[in-house]
C-alpha cells in the first residue's frame, strides 16, 4: 500500500547546523498491515510521518501510495487518502465549531457541493451512529463546541474524523501520549477496533514499548534516520521490552 524508496531529508542543508533526519529510508507497508514504529527522540520517526503526509517534501527518493507517486503531491491532496492523529488532542479538531460541524468537515464524499447549506438529516443520523460507537455519550452532544470536550473525548472524535472516510493509510503520531493512562488505554482499544473493523493500513508511532509489541503485526525501530529493526512474525514474538530498550 505504502512504499518509501530511498527517502532522504536533511534539515538546514549546507550550513553548520545540517542534520540528517532521514538517511535513505526504504519501507513497504502491505495493505491492511498495522505497523508500530519506535525510536528515540530525534531518530526520524516524526520526519518520516511528515514526508509521507506532505508536511514537507523529501530531498530525495520516492513515495508511492497505492501505486500512485505522491512524492510531490501537496499536503491537502494527500490528506484525502491519509488519516492523521497527533499527540496534542487540541490539534485534531476545531475548538469553536460543534462536534457535528467538525465531523462534516472530515466527511467529504464524491458529489459534494461547495455551497450546500448545513448538514443534512441523513448525515446527522450517520454521525450519530458513528459517535455512538465510541461509547462516550457524545452522540447526544453533537451541537456542543469541540473545545468543551476533554482531551480524551477530543482524541476519540479526531480518530473518528480520520477514519470516517476510510483512508488508505492511517498515521498515528503518539496519539495517546498526552492522555492519562486509563484514557490512553481506552483510545488505544478504540484505535485497534477501528483498524480491525475497516481493515486499515496503519502506522503508529509510540514510546510505549509494551503496546508497540502488543498491537499490530510488525514493529519497526528507527535510529539516526535509519530503520535499524524491522520485526514481524516469530522474530517479533521473541522480542521483549528489555531487548528493544537496549537498541535505543
Amino acid at each position: 500500500m505504502l512504499t518509501l524508496e530511498n527517502i532522504t531529508k536533511v534539515f538546514h542543508a549546507g550550513t553548520v547546523n545540517a542534520r540528517t533526519a532521514l538517511d535513505g529510508v526504504n519501507l513497504h507497508l502491505k495493505k491492511g498491515e498495522f505497523v508500530t514504529l519506535v525510536g528515540g527522540n530525534g531518530s526520524g520517526k516524526t520526519s518520516l510521518l511528515n514526508t509521507v503526509s506532505g508536511g514537507f517534501l523529501a530531498d530525495g527518493g520516492r513515495i508511492l501510495l497505492d501505486g500512485e507517486n505522491i512524492t510531490f503531491l501537496p499536503e491537502h491532496k494527500r490528506a484525502r487518502y491519509i488519516g492523521r492523529l497527533f499527540q496534542d488532542p487540541m490539534k485534531g479538531t476545531a475548538p469553536n465549531m460543534t462536534i457535528a460541524e467538525n465531523l462534516s468537515l472530515a466527511y467529504r464524499q464524491a458529489g459534494d457541493r461547495k455551497f450546500q447549506i448545513g448538514i443534512g438529516k441523513k448525515q446527522l443520523a450517520f454521525f450519530r451512529e458513528q459517535l455512538a460507537q465510541l461509547n462516550l455519550g457524545l452522540e447526544d452532544r453533537m451541537k456542543t463546541n469541540m473545545g468543551l470536550l476533554s482531551g480524551g473525548q477530543r482524541q476519540a472524535v479526531t480518530l473518528l474524523m480520520a477514519t470516517v472516510c476510510t483512508p488508505k493509510l492511517l498515521m498515528l503520531d503518539e496519539h495517546t501520549a498526552a492522555l492519562d493512562p486509563a484514557t490512553a488505554e481506552k483510545i488505544l482499544r478504540l484505535t485497534e477496533k477501528i483498524i480491525k473493523k475497516e481493515g486499515l493500513t496503519a502506522l503508529m508511532v509510540t514510546h510505549d514499548i509494551p503496546s508497540a509489541l502488543a498491537l499490530g503485526s510488525r514493529t519497526i525501530m528507527m535510529k539516526d534516520g535509519k530503520i535499524i529493526l524491522d520485526a514481524s512474525g516469530e522474530e517479533r514474538e521473541n522480542l521483549t521490552v528489555e531487548k528493544l530498550i537496549k537498541l535505543y
Binding site: 501537496p74 492523521r84 462534516s104 468537515l105 457541493r113 455551497f115
Partner: protein
C-alpha cells in the same frame, strides 16, 4: 443630542457596520487582523465614485466590491503562497492600493459627488424621499450582507473557512486547501469593506484618497463594543452583535461630540477602546495575581 445628529449617527453606523463585518470576517473568522481593508475601503469608494460620476451608481457598487475582493486576493496570496506575515501583507497591500486608488480616480485625490446622481438621490426620485432612503438603503444592505454571511458560514465552503481560522493544522490534515479558504475569506472581507467605502462616498457626497486612514481601528472598536454588549455565541449571533455594535459606536461618538468633545481626540479614544478590550484578559490576570500575592504577604506576618 439633536434628532438630526441621532439619525445621522444611526445612518453612518449602519453603513460602517459593513466595514465592521468585513473586519469580523478577517479577524474573528480567519484570525487575521487584516489591514488591507483600509485600502479596500478607499479603493471601493474611488471605484464607486468614478462610476457615479459617469452616471452608473448601481454598477459602481458591484465594481467597488470587485476591486475590494481583488485587494483581498492579493493580500491572501502574499500571506499564503509567498509566506509574508499577515500584518505585513496587509500593510503592503494597503500601501500599494493607495496608488491604485489614485489611479482609479484619474490622479485626483478627491472626487466630489454633490451634483451627481447617487443611489440615494436616484431612489429618492423613484419613491419616498431622499432622507428616508439614507436610512433605509444602508439598513437593507446590512441586512442582506448579514444574511448572506450567516448562510455562507454554514455551507461546506463556509465551514472550511471557519475551520481555517480556528485550527489551521487540522484543516490541512483534512484535505482542505487552506490557501483557497484564506483567499475566499479575505476576498469576502475586503469586498464588504469596499462596499462600505462606495456607500460612504455616495452618502457623504465625495470620495477622498485619505478616507480609509485609521478605519481598521474604528471597525475593530465597533466589533469589540458589539461583543462586549452581546457576548460571543453562534456565528449568526455574532454578525448581529457586530452590526449593532457599529451603530452604538457611532451613537457614542455623536453623544461625545454633543458634549463638545474635540473631534481631534476621536481616533485616540477609538484606539484606546480597542487596546483596552484586547488587553483586558492580561490586565485581569495581572490584577488577580497581585491580589493573591498581597493576601499571601498579609498571612505571612
Amino acid at each position: 443630542m439633536s434628532m438630526i445628529a441621532f439619525t445621522g449617527a444611526v445612518e453612518l453606523g449602519l453603513i460602517f457596520a459593513l466595514l465592521a463585518l468585513g473586519i469580523f470576517v478577517a479577524y474573528r473568522i480567519l484570525g487575521v487582523p487584516d489591514l488591507t481593508v483600509e485600502g479596500s475601503f478607499t479603493a471601493g469608494a474611488a471605484t464607486g465614485a468614478v462610476f457615479v460620476a459617469s452616471g452608473r451608481p448601481f454598477i459602481g457598487i458591484a465594481a467597488a466590491m470587485l476591486t475590494g475582493s481583488l485587494a483581498g486576493l492579493v493580500s491572501a496570496f502574499l500571506q499564503t503562497k509567498l509566506r509574508v506575515q499577515p500584518i505585513l501583507a496587509g500593510i503592503l497591500t494597503m500601501t500599494a492600493s493607495y496608488s491604485v486608488s489614485l489611479y482609479i480616480m484619474g490622479g485626483r485625490p478627491n472626487i466630489p459627488l454633490f451634483r451627481e446622481e447617487t443611489l440615494f438621490t436616484l431612489l429618492g426620485r423613484l419613491g419616498g424621499n431622499e432622507r428616508l432612503w439614507r436610512m433605509l438603503l444602508p439598513l437593507m444592505i446590512v441586512l442582506i450582507v448579514g444574511a448572506v454571511l450567516g448562510v455562507f458560514f454554514h455551507t461546506r465552503l463556509g465551514l472550511a473557512v471557519r475551520a481555517t481560522g480556528d485550527n489551521e493544522e487540522m484543516v490541512r490534515a483534512s484535505s482542505i486547501n487552506t490557501t483557497f479558504t484564506k483567499m475566499t475569506g479575505l476576498a469576502i472581507a475586503n469586498a464588504i469593506a469596499a462596499l462600505c467605502g462606495a456607500l460612504i462616498a455616495q452618502y457623504q457626497g465625495f470620495a477622498d484618497i485619505n478616507m480609509g486612514f485609521g478605519m481598521v481601528v474604528v471597525a475593530l472598536a465597533s466589533l469589540i463594543i458589539g461583543e462586549a454588549i452581546f457576548g460571543r455565541r453562534t456565528v449568526i449571533w455574532n454578525i448581529g452583535a457586530v452590526t449593532v455594535g457599529a451603530v452604538i459606536y457611532r451613537l457614542i461618538l455623536a453623544l461625545a461630540l454633543s458634549f463638545r468633545l474635540n473631534p481631534a481626540n476621536l481616533r485616540a479614544i477609538s484606539a484606546l477602546i480597542v487596546a483596552a478590550a484586547i488587553s483586558y484578559p492580561a490586565i485581569k490576570n495581572w490584577w488577580t495575581t497581585n491580589g493573591l500575592k498581597r493576601r499571601e504577604r498579609r498571612t505571612r506576618c
